[in-house]
């Protein structure tokens, strides 16, 4: 095998193309199983419980500390220009537009995405998925679709919690510790944050990231080599690919939404 041998290059390209097509087909199937997943909502509910509720603590604590740091750093920069009252606006805008969806997605990939990949990968390694197929149960419908929709539903909720807790964190540092005027803190925020252009687009972003992270986690698990080594490699790939996709997509989404 050498990379400059045309036959090997062609083989590798065909393999990559086939992977891409397979992934796209799986994605299309997961999306079409929305109705099926909602009819058996118990399965989705258990996944929301597993992916969402158990991620709540890490998301809330991270949000709080990101808010603290934004309050401190924002105050340091703003007071140079004598406009420390704009601290509330700075904290709210950076959280709602950027940090909320992105940091939540990165944490979600690490906290929930890895567990999904490992679970599916082990199911595959233990031939549970093949066993289901033998019983004429579609594993994509029964195992993957509820996890997918559970993750997609949980992610925007987590991002909203992150932003809200972060703003409270910024308030604690800015108003309670440093002593920025609370009226100006909230007033500037309310004057500058638009409910649809900022909050709404933040929700759209987190929804897109939820789809991205959950799908990549499931795909990596589903395509993992059915060995202990293969599962560990798939788990690593989930974090790397999901994080990079989120950051890349974030750039594209931001350029599309806020380009005026």
């Amino acid at each position: 095998m050498s990379w400059y041998n045309p036959a090997n290059v062609g083989f590798a390209t065909r393999a990559k193309l086939a992977d891409l097509g397979h992934g796209a087909r799986l994605f299309a199937r997961l999306v079409t199983f929305f109705g099926a997943a909602m009819r058996r909502f118990g399965l989705v509910r258990d996944q929301i419980h597993f992916l969402g509720n158990y991620s709540l603590a890490i998301i809330a604590v991270s949000g709080l500390f990101v808010g603290f740091v934004l309050g401190l750093q924002g105050y340091y920069t703003l007071q140079r220009y004598g406009s420390s009252e704009a601290l509330g606006l700075l904290v709210a805008l950076s959280l709602v537009r950027e940090l909320g969806p992105v940091v939540t997605a990165l944490l979600f990939a690490g906290r929930a995405g890895t567990s999904l990949t490992a679970e599916i990968g082990l199911m595959k390694a233990g031939e549970q998925l093949s066993a289901m197929e033998m019983m004429a149960v579609d594993p994509v419908r029964r195992v993957l679709a509820p996890r997918f929709w559970g993750g997609v539903i949980a992610m925007p909720i987590l991002a909203a919690v992150f932003s809200a807790v972060g703003i409270l964190g910024g308030w604690v540092v800015g108003v309670v510790l440093i002593g920025v005027d609370p009226g100006a803190f909230w007033g500037q925020m309310q004057g500058g944050v638009d409910w649809w252009r900022d909050v709404g687009n933040g929700v759209v972003k987190s929804l897109v990231f939820g789809v991205t992270v959950t799908f990549i986690a499931l795909l990596e698990g589903f395509e993992a080599q059915p060995t202990p080594e293969g599962v560990s490699r798939a788990t690593t790939r989930t974090v790397v690919v999901a994080s990079l996709s989120v950051l890349g997509l974030d750039f594209i989404l931001t350029a599309m939404m806020f380009s005026i």
Binding site: I48, L56, I167, W195, V199, V203
Partner: protein, 161 residues
Amino acid sequence: MERSKSDIWVGLFVLIGAAALLFLALQSANLLSISFQPTYRVIAKFDNIGGLKRQAAVKSAGVVVGRVESIGFDDKSYQARVTLALDSRYAFPKDSSLKILTSGLLGEQYVGVEAGADEKNLAAGDTIGNTQSAVVLENLIGQFLYNKAADGNSAGTAQKK
């Protein structure tokens, strides 16, 4: 549908998410202040709008009476064509004049309305021609320098005589 213990927790989770969104919408974006008051549209032509943006406030005597709805360019008169949505509860005389002002030294730009004395009021679709452009700092400096130079020249010729 089967019930299970996680029902409560998932319900709580969704509730927390809804509360967070509500908090963001009400406390940070102040959704409640968005007025669903009926408005009427008035068109204004400016020579230069400076940094005026959509959704900028329209104020009269410091009170917000409307918003800038859209900004376009009129290639007949080569002027900026600004559509203002004014609150229907406020009426202004037909000869009111508009100015583009800045709140504070580096603040947002807004449109100021100064009421005229006409007995008829502005109606939807009316065009306001009596406008004053935004102050563009570069023009101001240019004018200042030009005046200085003119002063210097006249002083020089005066001395020669």
